[in-house]
Amino acid sequence: MQTFHTDLLCIGAGLAGERVAIEAAAAGFDVICLSLVPARRSHSSAAQGGMQAALGNCAMGEGDCPDVHFEDTVKGSDWGCDQEVARLFVDSAPVAMRQLAAWGVPWNRVVPGKSTYFKGGKLFEKEEKKDKEGLITARAFGGTAKWRTCYTSDGTGHTVLYTMDNRAVQLGVDVHDKTEVLSLIHDGENCLGAVARCLKTGALRAYLARATLIATGGFGRIYRESTNAVINDGGGLIIALDTGLVPLGNMEAVQFHPTGIVPTDILVTEGCRGDGGTLLDKDMHRFMPDYEPEKAELASRDVVSRWMTHHMRQGKGVPSPYGDHLWLDIRHLGAQHLATKLREVDEICKNFLGIDPLESPIPVRPTQHYSMGGVRTNKDGAAYGLKGLFSAGEAACWDMHGFNRLGGNSLAETVVAGMIVGAKMVEFLQGHQVSYPTNVVADAAKLQQERIQRLIARSDGSENVYMVRNAMFDALMQGAGIFRNGSDLQMCLDTLQEVHQRARQIGLRSNGLGANPELAMALRLPGMVRLALCVAYGALQRTESRGSHAREDYPERNDRDWLVRTLATWQPDSELPTLNYEPASQVWHIPPGERGYGGGKIISADSKKQ
């Protein structure tokens, strides 16, 4: 078996992974990134709208500062975030944007003079200042007090990822693409690297590293309908959970984005609404101001998605062969705006829906989009439970998002966390040595080799991997969607446990040779079902509504009993995760209060004392 030695192993070569890699490479360490796809195809590239950072350059961002950004982020999280981490993030975000500018990102810039913009359906005028000319500009996003989202048209993730990978090439970061990681190698105390399978040849490889980073993004593909790329199957979370030592945080906190297109579930950016697009129902009525007079379409995503679902349940959805949907209307923004600021949206509408967004509204509905949960880390990005294991980006529960993240805060998190965690990993590498016991490495590899042989030989059964996956999809649809309740969640959990049994009895129908896709899915699926079980079990136990976690049977946000983060670990051979809880935050710069949108009731933390 081919074995690679390196100082730092980054699992994932999207923005968070490469940003950490760059920090370590610049400090003189050897770095290898592993990626399912060429680095530039990582799902970071699909982020359209932008990155939040309180630069305050544009007219509508005047007076912005990290304090205001912090307040928006904490409210957005529904007080579920770690406030120390959120503070670290908002303070560092402006520097990160400027660094990206120096590295080559073609940020849109302030153009001085008067111009018009839309808010909701109405036209307003603003004037950009002469002394800000040529500085990084920003657009509006949901749940923000200021225009704060830095962007390059609607291809922000793409340009930032291309710039990041350019920088990685410049610094000699090695990327092994078409490689999937099957397990971590560890001795119960230290993480020592990973066992991986080459997706060009099918060969197993061992990577031995003094420090390992999990930056594999989200796990949206446990849902049938997700805006996520097909690679977002939670691979990094699975290998962490499978250690039995490393907990995943807040897995029940799953974000549904208001504007996935129908059909195909492809995302159109929140920038559409930020730039003045509106949501209409079957009567072409703009309904969001009825529910949210102040924020309307620009309340936080959890709130907008819930009102959309509620409105469709009232019979106001537009019927279609693919189920009910609503309309996103950007016709009034005009051809020039679409051609410069919303180009990808324009292409997606034309290529996938066959409509021109200048002529016709876009069919949309809330669709699974983001995983607030992930590998639980401390503020340095160090995972709980294993020394030498770190995590950053969507894969991590660092936890600046709590129970709902704001649009533009996750793309920014990738580079800001990458910068901060990268520096901490450099410190760690400077002082940390490990030894690699040959039996530990050999046993980890042998375990994976045997799994593969058993799947090919159908030693454990002949379950069809795709049927089992579909059963997982059905179960999650049943209980773990936008609105949740105890009885549906219990059914979902029971079904998922059956699915988990079936997932252990998969047998291949093809020969499994080379880069066999059925084998890849069969190796991944049992872990995906365990992630689904963490989501469902965490959601069932959490008897309150907070951010994206909306329980119809427990509609109040319960700060008295649930101002905590769920920590899920998986003990070997158990049927369910073990759930523990820790305080949501150690510091409370802003004590729990009203978000100003969403309109939910709150059970106060103080009521405990009375």
Binding site: R41, P106, L508, G514, A515
Partner: protein
């Protein structure tokens, strides 16, 4: 009227000693809004679980799924079956190393390209975390973005006669990358330094001018203009190099 689609798909698994290059035929009922993403996944799930192909974002953004569809390179994810006849032939992209069936290795080629054209900002300036960002006109930013929209799908290289004749040709994607940095005021490379990279048969002089690159580019990048602009600018730089007092 629902159609039955007949797919002829190139098959070869280099890792399977029993496999030889051949074509397999599959029949699939067409559904509304069907794309090749939907069709190929159904074929894998319902008929042949070993069928290899690549998708990633499935939204026309990442470039993973380029293949030759009825003789023409394009992105499978945004190819609608209703725009195709009921006989559909799918082949892997030529030029790139085959992984298996419709899957090819584009990552290695594009990373080498990035190294060859030194695809990064060349500057002596150190980043200063305390300072404001350097100013740039929004027009210039938008011009750079226009060329930055390349998704490295490989269609332009796969469709390129020059690339097939000389595998070291930078291709339209490589020349476009150079053009992107030439536009960027942050990159302090001189004309001469750019000329050293592209002023040869691997670069601008290798192009035979067939210009299929622009025809097949799924992002509709102005690739012909970049080639023309580079030849013009580099032509001048080359001429200047001949004049000893103008050299720099």
């Amino acid at each position: 009227m629902a159609r039955n689609l007949t797919f002829s798909i190139f098959r070869y698994n280099p890792q399977d000693p029993a496999s030889t290059p051949h074509t397999d035929t599959f029949v699939l009922d067409e559904t509304n809004h069907m794309t090749l993403f939907i069709a190929l996944n159904r074929l894998r799930e319902e008929q042949d679980p070993g069928l290899q192909f690549d998708f990633c974002c499935r939204a026309g953004i990442c470039g993973a799924c380029a293949m030759v569809v009825n003789g023409r390179p394009g992105l499978a994810c945004h190819t609608k079956t209703k725009d195709l006849p009921d006989k559909i032939t799918l082949m892997p992209l030529p030029f790139f190393t085959l992984v298996g069936d419709l899957s090819v290795d584009t990552g290695t080629w594009f990373r080498n390209m990035a190294k060859r054209v030194e695809s990064w900002i060349h500057t002596e300036k150190e980043f200063n975390a305390e300072a404001l960002e350097e100013r740039m006109s929004n027009d210039v930013a938008e011009q750079i973005y226009e060329l930055e929209r390349c998704i490295e799908c490989g269609c332009c290289v796969a469709a390129c006669g020059s690339a097939i004749l000389r595998p070291d040709f930078l291709g339209a994607a490589g020349l476009n990358r150079i053009a992107r940095f030439l536009l960027d005021p942050r990159d302090q490379r001189t004309r001469r330094e750019y000329f050293d990279v592209v002023g040869n048969d691997q670069g601008i002089f290798g192009c035979m001018g067939l210009l299929a690159c622009e025809d097949v580019c799924p992002k509709h990048l102005p690739l012909q203009d970049q080639l023309g602009m580079l030849r013009w600018k580099m032509g001048w730089a080359g001429l200047m190099n001949l004049l000893p007092w103008k050299r720099k």
